[in-house]
């Protein structure tokens, strides 16, 4: 750093500017000339893809990024168009969004709220991103969603399963396509009742953080509603890698079902431990001991290997679905990258498409106009059947897949099989449901920025 530019005049000039900057009222803010934050003025529009590229969810982040790149390609008219061809709304023509070529910037959330916000802020302040999307953890989603609300840009959540994202922390500028804990519980309960009966005693191991709490609450509520009894619910530290000490007491408790409210590496370890302890070969209360994993992902199933065989769970989407949308998506993703997409990739691709479509229909990039176009929007052909973006909480309502670890997998991607597609009516709840923050939760006003 040199100080050669230090002249008396320069110093005076800058102090004057700095002084003026501090003294200026908010009305003179930079963007007051534009109608909303980062209004795209050239012939391109910039989207911000904020995904975990390092840290525990880096694999999912990498898959999300692939999906976004594919979506941008399709939006700009490249590739085979993927789900754009099966999407029920036909306003997208592969000519960018509103005629503007789609460009993107990427950032690393590191699965930390602070880092994710810093990265999102730099996209908004430096790169002029008009929409932020992505992420693989609810903590990050809630933090970035609040930031986007403040800054006046749209946030399209990536993989986030906690109720809070569209529950007590819902925001007018934030939208979630992914399903949530409540839906997992509601979808799983009837399947579990069918398979294991209605007089089970459940033992919960719950990852000790926000997502774990909401998932435990949801699964407990829906299993108890059909007659199950909850024997105990034990919290496990997120950083735990060896769960033996948590598994041993399960057998003494008299429980005959173990529910693992764990995700990612946690689930891989706890499930492996439980299976190694021989839980699944045990007989308790005259019934076979069973294990349930509320939220499944292919990457987790891969990590746990043969241990997932026959274990029930729920998932947002699976590449083996046979509807037109899923087939089109799997085909174009597979052609480009050589393997099938994960559910994280699917939800991110769909979110990018839905945003582009909403802008196109609204005829404007202004966040409030886009939000209005998304609210109450019903669509089909995106892999989950008929889907509604509910206006009250900006949550997508669609069928939920109940899956089971496959007994005889044919490839490293073919690990889960779909047991049942729980229809959307069964997983729908009132916007002021107590698990969703009750009557107090509100979206607030949508924010266009300055």
């Amino acid at each position: 750093m040199s100080k050669t530019d230090l002249t008396r005049r320069g110093l005076l000039k800058t102090s004057a500017i700095a002084g003026a900057g501090v003294a200026l009222p908010t009305i003179f803010t930079a963007s007051s000339a534009a109608a909303f934050t980062n209004e795209p003025t050239g012939d391109t529009v910039t989207l911000g893809f904020n995904v975990p590229q390092s840290g525990p969810y880096a694999d999912e982040g990498a898959d999300e990024l692939r999906a976004y790149e594919l979506a941008v390609e399709h939006l700009n008219g490249g590739g085979d168009g993927g789900m754009m061809n099966t999407f029920s709304s036909k306003v997208l023509e592969g000519a960018g969004i509103l005629g503007k070529k789609v460009e993107y910037v990427t950032g690393d959330t590191q699965t930390k709220a602070d880092a994710a916000r810093a990265s999102a802020k730099s996209m908004i302040e430096k790169d002029g991103a008009v929409m932020i999307t992505g992420g693989s953890s609810s903590g990050v989603a809630v933090a970035v969603q609040a930031l986007c609300q403040e800054a006046g840009v749209i946030f399209m959540a990536g993989l986030t399963h906690s109720n809070d994202t569209t529950g007590k922390d819902r925001k007018a500028n934030g939208f979630r396509h992914f399903f949530n804990s409540y839906m997992s519980g509601a979808a799983l309960a009837p399947v579990l009742a069918n398979a294991y009966g209605t007089d089970r005693k459940a033992y919960h191991l719950t990852a000790d953080y926000n997502w774990g709490y909401t998932t435990e609450e949801a699964v407990r509520a829906s299993t108890e509603a059909m007659g199950w009894e909850t024997v105990a619910a034990v919290k496990t530290p997120l950083t735990q890698t060896d769960f033996s000490s948590y598994i041993a007491p399960v057998l003494q408790s008299g429980a005959d079902t173990l529910i693992l409210n764990h995700y990612g590496g946690n689930m891989v370890n706890s499930l492996t431990n439980a299976v190694q302890f021989g839980l699944r070969d045990k007989q308790v209360n005259g019934k076979d001991f069973q294990i349930v994993v509320p939220l499944y992902s292919r990457l987790m199933a891969k990590g746990a290997g043969a241990n997932v065989k026959g274990i029930f769970g729920s998932t947002n989407w699976h590449w083996s679905l046979q509807d037109e949308g899923s087939k089109a998506f799997v085909k174009s993703f597979g052609t480009k990258y050589g393997f099938p997409p994960s559910q994280a990739a699917h939800t991110c691709y769909v979110q990018a498409m839905l945003y582009a479509d909403a802008v196109q229909r609204a005829g404007s990039f202004a966040p409030c106009a886009v939000a209005e176009a998304l609210e109450g929007f019903e669509f089909d052909g995106m892999g989950n059947g008929k889907t509604l973006y509910r206006a009250d909480d900006h949550q997508c309502f669609k069928d939920v897949l109940v899956v089971k670890g496959k007994e005889n997998p044919e490839s490293e991607f073919d690990l889960l099989e779909i047991v049942e597609v729980t229809p959307v009516d069964q997983v729908t709840y009132a916007p002021d449901h107590p698990q969703m923050g009750g009557a107090e939760a509100s979206l607030g006003e949508c924010n266009d920025g300055a």
């Binding site: 750093m1 100080k3 530019d5 230090l6 110093l11 800058t14 102090s15 500017i17 700095a18 900057g21 501090v22 200026l24 009222p25 908010t26 003179f28 803010t29 930079a30 590229q53 390092s54 880096a58 910037v105 990427t106 950032g107 690393d108 930390k112 709220a113 602070d114 880092a115 916000r117 810093a118 990265s119 802020k121 730099s122 302040e125 430096k126 953890s137 609810s138 903590g139 809630v142 933090a143 609040a146 930031l147 609300q149 403040e150 906690s162 809070d164 922390d169 000790d208 953080y209 926000n210 997502w211 709490y213 919290k235 530290p237 997120l238 950083t239 107090e440 509100s442 607030g444 006003e445």
Partner: protein
């Protein structure tokens, strides 16, 4: 002037000028040019530069002077953040009381942690502080969820109505300084260049200047000399009848308060607080910043924090597409080859680059970036180095 000798005053003046001109200095490349990628002059990053500068300056008071390596300093940053955000949620949206509360609470917490940890020195002290920080992190992440918001952290919500602020129903409060929004500001465009002047940055910068000034005063005071004595030979101090504990504890608390100030400012600039702020990697980061810049030097920690935050925010955002744009002039095969070579060091690989730079600095420039600067300065002046120069910025590696 201001109780500083000429040399220190010059240093303070340089820091003052650089921070005040930062929006211009950090945006040297015109908008739209390929190099605009390297511009760092946007509000969020500039704020982070000065806030983490404060954090590192404070850490350096403990580590640089006494040689006590605290590996849990992020805990104080986190505690300061939580205190500040609760102040904003409950009492007032003005940032000043929030920052003050952050400093006080962090100071008290540092007093408690320091009182226990400082019974040991060396590696045992480091481990104790690390344990405290990880405990704080674990508590904030789970057990204390009602107070800390757990994983999702705390934000100002539409349901919060601070006592002293008149918010319309459903309006989300915003941090302000006597009515001025932290995000207020304006752009200056000169030709192709665009400079963003932001109120929040200048407020944080003023705090940093004050923090820097205080740190110079501490370094030059008899108290600072005592702390250096602790570093060079604590046993000898005890034999001469001096009790070092009160001095080290005072240094620990002061440096905890600096961390609290940084935490409070983080909340003031971006109204949220989460537990990751206290994770051990965050504590490690401030150690890296200090050593990278030059432990025990005045300006070193600020340079180090700037370098790390720059890499974290700028380098990590370069992706493959941008590389393809840069090397598009090369023939295809060569382009792919060069990109394969460069790619591991940018984007998500920024940690790798940071690690390499850190190794290079520790091996070749044990005094950190400051020593590098001094060596270049000496080269330029034709090796007529004045031995007195060394005194101002002591460059012995910290043990």
């Amino acid at each position: 002037m201001l109780g500083l000798d000429k040399k220190d005053f010059r240093l303070l003046l340089i820091v003052l000028i650089i921070t005040m001109l930062a929006p211009f200095i950090l945006n040297p490349f015109p908008e739209g040019s390929g190099l605009a990628q390297f511009n760092a002059g946007y509000p969020d990053l500039m704020q982070r530069f000065v806030i983490f500068g404060i954090f590192a300056i404070g850490f350096n008071i403990l580590f640089g002077l006494t040689g006590y390596l605290s590996f849990g300093h992020a805990a104080f940053l986190g505690v300061g953040s939580y205190a500040a955000i609760w102040m904003m949620k409950l009492v007032t949206l003005n940032v000043i009381p929030a920052i003050i509360l952050g400093v006080i609470i962090a100071g008290l917490f540092a007093l408690a942690v320091g009182f226990i940890s400082l019974r040991r020195s060396g590696i045992y002290f480091s481990i104790l502080t690390l344990a405290f920080a990880q405990m704080s992190y674990a508590l904030a992440y789970s057990v204390l969820t009602p107070i800390t918001g757990g994983e999702t952290g705390l934000q100002i919500k539409s349901t919060d109505s601070p006592l002293l602020s008149n918010l319309a129903d459903g309006e989300i409060g915003r941090a302000n300084l006597f009515g001025m929004d932290m995000r207020a500001g304006f752009d200056i465009s000169m030709g192709d260049w665009l400079f963003t002047i932001n109120a929040g940055y200048y407020i944080a910068a003023v705090f940093m200047i004050i923090a820097f000034y205080l740190s110079i005063r501490i370094f030059r005071s008899p108290f600072g000399t005592m702390l250096r004595a602790v570093k060079s030979n604590q046993t000898r101090m005890y034999y001469t009848g001096l009790n070092a504990r009160p001095y080290t504890l005072a240094a620990f608390v002061i440096s905890g308060m600096y961390a609290g100030l940084a935490g409070g400012l983080l909340v003031a600039m971006d109204t949220q607080a989460g537990p990751e702020r206290m994770f051990w990697t965050a504590s490690g980061e401030v150690v890296l910043m200090t050593i990278l810049g030059g432990a025990g030097t005045l300006i070193g920690p600020v340079l180090g924090s700037g370098a790390i935050k720059y890499m974290e925010n700028i380098l990590s955002k370069i992706n493959k597409d941008i590389l393809h744009e840069w090397f598009a002039f090369m023939p295809d095969g060569l382009e792919d080859f060069v990109i394969t070579l460069v790619y591991p060091f940018i984007g998500k690989g920024w940690h790798l680059t940071l690690g390499l730079i850190f190794m290079a600095v520790v091996i070749f420039l044990p005094g950190g970036l400051v020593e590098g600067g001094q060596r270049i300065g000496r080269l330029l002046r034709g090796k007529k180095a004045n031995p007195d120069d060394e005194k101002a910025t002591q460059s012995t590696p910290a043990e």
